[in-house]
């Protein structure tokens, strides 16, 4: 694990230096997209992967974050507090709906959150039918580099926070709730409190990502970040990477964005069909996601190394 930490820190430093080397905007944009999806996948994973509550409504948090940030920013508010406000609005909404939503279990929770997000989606579409375009001043001042650092920073914060959270007592409680709610309750772990905590943290980071989205995109429909596709993307990435792991959502997001870009460039209109097939294959044959490949590989190696001494017992004894 120590070496993994060193590698991560090195990777972040390299990523932080990249804008000084890379000239092409398209590369920076691709990296920003990957960071955004890492943030989204990791946030979703806190609730969906570690606490076992499959949400299909995270687009609501993402959209609320984007909405608040964009409106504040257009209104002349500085951007960083604006993004923070977006995150907070998402948390407030999450805590308001949390208690009733968690009365629903399993699939009903999933469908319920989907319905909830759709309510917001339609309502926002009705209230703000126009395009959220930037004032000319902001448009003139638009630069890619600060956006790059914002998303990189957020991604590091989210992944770091997940790491700290799941290694804490609260994180253990969340996983206990995921494994067996009744057993967790009987040990004094309040299921509702841990679910609400996971939902709050998850919504906060998703809201921040929404704020970043509002800062990054020049023009989009206010409704766009609320569309259910975002929720499905988050779920897809986490499952492809490996739910309930720290690295899973990161790998899943990189894989997701890279593969989608690659397929879109090479297969044109058929790329989503191939993507759907790949996703189904992962669900069927790799239930633990991509990270489980490494684990399987490790298991295979340790099994072999255990076998070796057995075969050469005399050798071992002579040593």
């Amino acid at each position: 694990m120590k070496s993994l930490q060193v590698i991560s820190i090195l990777l972040v430093i390299i990523l932080a230096c990249l804008p000084m080397v890379i000239e092409k905007d398209s590369t920076i944009n691709l990296l920003i997209l990957i960071f955004l999806y890492i943030i989204l996948a990791s946030s979703w994973n806190i609730l969906g992967g570690y606490t076992g509550q499959t949400s299909l409504g995270h687009a609501a948090f993402f959209g609320l974050g984007a909405l608040a940030t964009r409106l504040l920013w257009i209104g002349g508010f500085p951007i960083l507090p604006g993004i923070l406000a977006g995150g907070l609005l998402a948390v407030i909404f999450a805590l308001l709906i949390g208690a009733p939503a968690f009365r629903l279990k399993g699939v009903y929770f999933a469908i319920g959150t989907l319905a909830l997000a759709e309510i917001l989606n339609v309502t926002v579409g009705n209230l703000f039918p126009e395009i959220a375009s930037l004032p000319v001043d902001d448009l003139v001042a638009y630069q890619l580099t600060p956006r790059y650092y914002l998303f990189l920073g957020l991604a590091v914060v989210v992944v770091g926070a997940t790491y700290i959270l799941v290694n804490s007592r609260l994180g253990l409680g969340m996983m206990a709730v995921r494994e067996e709610e009744d057993a967790a309750e009987s040990l004094g772990v309040s299921a509702l409190r841990h679910k609400l905590l996971a939902l709050g943290v998850s919504a906060f980071f998703t809201g921040l990502a929404g704020g970043g989205f509002a800062y990054y995109h020049v023009s989009y429909y206010f409704q766009f970040p609320f569309s259910p596709g975002w929720s499905l993307d988050m779920l897809t990435m986490v499952y492809i990477g490996g739910q309930g792991t720290i690295l899973g959502p990161v790998i899943g997001a990189v894989f997701f964005v890279a593969l989608r870009q690659y397929l879109a460039l090479n297969l044109g209109e058929y790329h989503l069909i191939v993507f759907g097939v790949l996703f189904i294959l992962v669900v069927l044959f790799l239930p633990g996601g991509i990270v489980s490949i490494w684990k399987k590989f490790q298991d295979a190696i340790t099994r072999r190394s255990k076998l070796v001494p057995v075969k050469n017992t005399p050798d071992k004894e002579s040593r």
């Binding site: 499959t54 009733p100 009365r103 629903l104 399993g106 699939v107 009903y108 999933a110 469908i111 319920g112 989907l114 319905a115 909830l116 759709e118 309510i119 339609v122 309502t123 579409g125 009705n126 259910p228 499905l232 779920l235 897809t236 499952y239 209109e269 058929y270 989503l272 069909i273 993507f275 759907g276 097939v277 996703f279 189904i280 669900v283 069927l284 239930p287």
Partner: protein, 293 residues
Amino acid sequence: MTEAVIQNLVFGILLGALYGLAAVGIALVFGVTKFLNVAHGELLMFGGYATFWLFNLFDLDPFLSLPLTIVFLLLIGVVLYYLLFVRMVKLSEEDKIKNTMLIGFGLTLILQNIALNLWTADDRGVTTSYAGEAFTLWGVRFPYVRVAGLVISLVCLFALQLFLKRTYTGKAIRATVEDWEAASLVGIDVQKVYLLSFLLGTALAGVAGTLVLVSFSVNPAMGLHWTLKSLIVMVLGGVGNFMGTFVGGILLGATESATAYFISGNYRQVVGLVLFLLILIFRPQGLFGAKEK
């Protein structure tokens, strides 16, 4: 004024029948197999497109070509079942729901984009010689095709009820809903029951798709909308009670029309969803479902 209200309500009920039919399909599959097929809306869409093709290429009347559409959907159903869903049969209930939902999302992507490539993103409809005609009763218009939709939905529903109540296979399906382990102990081939229910659900989606096509139109992006409607109605009516599910559909249709008339057409979806959430939270067994335990 009152006439306009009644007219609105009638259209709501006629639309609600389609919601009901779509929902009975998804509820049948979910009730028996615990497969949550979120690609149900896409199957419905394929039913619509099949009819569209039969009409455009072979000049077949959409109502007369219904058997062919059903056969087409059954073929899709068999392929999907043996390729994907059969692998889910042995999982625990929770894993089954989760995995089939994920597979469903993958399928959604695939089917949507196949439709996009085959039929483009345009809205597709059929215009029959009798398309615009209607009869008037007490000043309220009843378009023939939509009334036919209601009648066909009811016929499907009663046929399904008869099948489930009167035939041996139907009883086997109901027994499996109650308790699949006990059912398999008394010699019911649970695998066969699963396949049959899945196919019945697919066929119902096909019929619903045809009716949606003749009443409105179909496009590649419609799937999620109809899946969501079906899920809402399934929960409204209560899982495992198909009559209740159908009535739930009509109720949703009527509520939506009332919202469109009294509040605003923009919020017709929202009211249905809010209603759904409230029922989900306060009456999880559905409006017509018996309380468990």
